[in-house]
Symmetry: C2
Subunit: 305 residues, 2 copies
C-alpha cells in the first residue's frame, strides 16, 4: 500500500523563478489529502496528473496568502465539475468567513457540502482518524497562528506466515493471530503460539509537515522518529536576522530539528525568492543532517513499509 507525498509548490511568500507557493498532494492507502493550497495549486494538480476529485480532506496550516489563495479556485472548479461528495476543510479560524464572503459575492451555492474543522491554537490534537491512519496537528511558531500536520499510520497487524499456517483455522483465530494473540482452545490451552505462525507487522509510516515556523524545539517530541519530515527552510544562516524577524527557519535550524527528532529523512521547502539556486540551502542543512533533500515541485516522496 502506498504512502506518497507529491510537492505541488514549495516557494515562500513571493513566487519566483516559476516556483509555486506551498501545496502538497498526499496519498496514503487510497486516502487522498491536500496540505496547503497556494495560488495555482489546481494548475499544478493538473500538471502532475493528480485527480483533484479524489481529495476529501484539505488541511490549511495558516492564513498567509501563499498557503491558501489557491483554495477558492479549487473549490469552484470542484463545483463546476459537479462534485457532490462532501469535502472536509481543516484550518484555523477565518477560512470559513473568507470562503463564505466570496461565495456570496459570486452568488454561488456549491453542489457539495464543506465541513469545516477549526484547529485549536497551540494545541496538538487528532484531526482525522480511521482504521488505518490518523492525522494530528502540530503547533508551530509563526507570526500568524499556524499548525503543521502529522500523518501517521496506525500499528499494523502481524503478517501470517503462510508456510506454517495449519489448515482449518477459524476466522476468529486468524484475527487473533494478526492481533498478536496465540490460538487458544476452549479450555484455555494454547494450541498455537503466535510467534510460530506469524511474522512481524510491517512498519507504520509517518510524515510530518512543518511550515511555516521559526526554530521550535517544542515540536521535536511530536515528530520523533518520523520517516519523512518536511520542514521549512526559508533562509540560510547568512540571513538569520531576516529569519528571526519573519519567524521563519534557516536550513541549519531545520536540520537541527531533524537531527534532534531522529527523523529518517528531511525535505526542505518554503524557499525565499532571494535564492535563485537552492543548492546553498541543501548544503547548509547537510552539514549536520546528511539525509536531506530539497522538496522541489513535482517531486514525489514514497515511503517504504
Amino acid at each position: 500500500m502506498s504512502f506518497s507525498i507529491t510537492i505541488l509548490g514549495s516557494s515562500g511568500a513571493l513566487p519566483a523563478y516559476g516556483r509555486f507557493p506551498s501545496s502538497q498532494f498526499i496519498e496514503i492507502q487510497n486516502r487522498y489529502f491536500l496540505v496547503d493550497c497556494g495560488e495555482g495549486t489546481q494548475m499544478q494538480l493538473r500538471r502532475y496528473e493528480l485527480n483533484v476529485h479524489r481529495i476529501n480532506h484539505i488541511f490549511i496550516s495558516h492564513l498567509h496568502g501563499d498557503h491558501y489563495l489557491g483554495l477558492m479556485g479549487l473549490l469552484l472548479t470542484l463545483h463546476l465539475q459537479k462534485r457532490t461528495t462532501e469535502l472536509h476543510l481543516y484550518s484555523h479560524a477565518g477560512l470559513d468567513e473568507i470562503i463564505t464572503v466570496q461565495l456570496r459575492h459570486s452568488k454561488s451555492v456549491l453542489n457539495y457540502s464543506i465541513i469545516f474543522h477549526t484547529l485549536t491554537k497551540d494545541k496538538h490534537e487528532i484531526l482525522f482518524e480511521d482504521e488505518h491512519l490518523q492525522v494530528e496537528s502540530i503547533p508551530l511558531t509563526h507570526k500568524l497562528t499556524c499548525s503543521g500536520f502529522l500523518f501517521r499510520e496506525k500499528p499494523k497487524a502481524r503478517r501470517l506466515n503462510k508456510n506454517r499456517l495449519p489448515d482449518g483455522l477459524l476466522l476468529q483465530q486468524i484475527a487473533a493471530l494478526k492481533m498478536g494473540d496465540d490460538v487458544i482452545e476452549e479450555d484455555g490451552k494454547v494450541l498455537y503460539k503466535n510467534e510460530d505462525l506469524t511474522l512481524t507487522a510491517k512498519h507504520s509510516r509517518s510524515y510530518a509537515y512543518c511550515s511555516d515556523t521559526a526554530y521550535e524545539p517544542k515540536l521535536i517530541p511530536l515528530i520523533k522518529d518520523v520517516d519523512l519530515l518536511y520542514h521549512e527552510a526559508t533562509f540560510i544562516e547568512d540571513d538569520k536576522l531576516k529569519a528571526k524577524e519573519t519567524m521563519h527557519s534557516t536550513a541549519l535550524e531545520a536540520a537541527q530539528i531533524a537531527q534532534l527528532a531522529g527523523v529518517k529523512k528531511l525535505a526542505l521547502g518554503h524557499f525565499s525568492a532571494r535564492y535563485k539556486d537552492l543548492i546553498v540551502i541543501e548544503e547548509e542543512a547537510k552539514t549536520i543532517f546528511k539525509n536531506t533533500v530539497l522538496a522541489t515541485e513535482g517531486q514525489n516522496f514514497s515511503l517504504e513499509e
Copy 2:
C-alpha cells in the same frame, strides 16, 4: 507612443490544457493597467517579464472567481515588495469586502493605499481620465453584474509640418497650430493658415474588452469602430444552448457584434475547457468576420497610430 495589450490568460472558468484564466496587461503611452486578474496572474506577469509595479489601475469585470482570484496574491506581493504608490481598483460592489476580510485574517496592513472605485450596475461611465486617455465601463449581460472596459485615446494634436514651419513662431502660436487654429496677428489678420503648416493628427486608438457577456447588441454603439475588440467566445454554435444557459457568447455571436460595430480587428477569448483545439472557435467567427484572431496567452496586440 505605444498602445499594447498582452494576454496573460484567456481560459474560461475551468483552467485546462495549461491555459490561465482571464487577465490582460495593457500599456498605453506609459500608463499601465491590468484588466481582470484570474488565479496565477502574478506568475504570468513574471513569465512574460512585465513589471507588476508599474500597474496603478486594476479593472475587474465581475466577481466570478476566474476574473479576480489572482488579485489577493498580487496585492500581497506588491506589499512584500515594498510598494508605497497608491493603487486604484475598479470593480462592482463586493471586492472591497473580499480583500478586507482576507487582510484582516492574515493580520496584514498593506504598505500602500488601495483606492476603491465601485462600478455602477448597468451604467456606461468614465472610470479614468487624464490628458491623453480615458477608460469607460461597458455594461455587459451576464449571470453576475459585469462590465467591460473601453480604453480610448483622446483626440490628438495636429502634427507640425517641420518642412514648412517658419522660424520665430511663439510657443503660443505653435500651441494654436496643434489645436487646429490658424496663426493670427494682433490685429486679427491670418498670418498663416493652419492647413499650410500642419499635418493631420495621428489616429486616436481604442480597445474594448468585453468579457463575460451573452450576445448583447446594446453594446454595439459603445464599441463602434474600435481598433481592437476582445470579445468572449466561450462556446461555438454547436453548444449554443450551453451558451444561453450560462450567459456566454458563441464565436459566431462575437463575430456578429464585431461586424455590426465595425471594429477593425476581433480577438476572441474566455475559451471553454471543452475545446482542446481552439481552431473551431476561430474558424466559426471568421465565417462572418475575417479579421479575427484567438487571444491566446502571451500574445501581444500592438495598435498602430
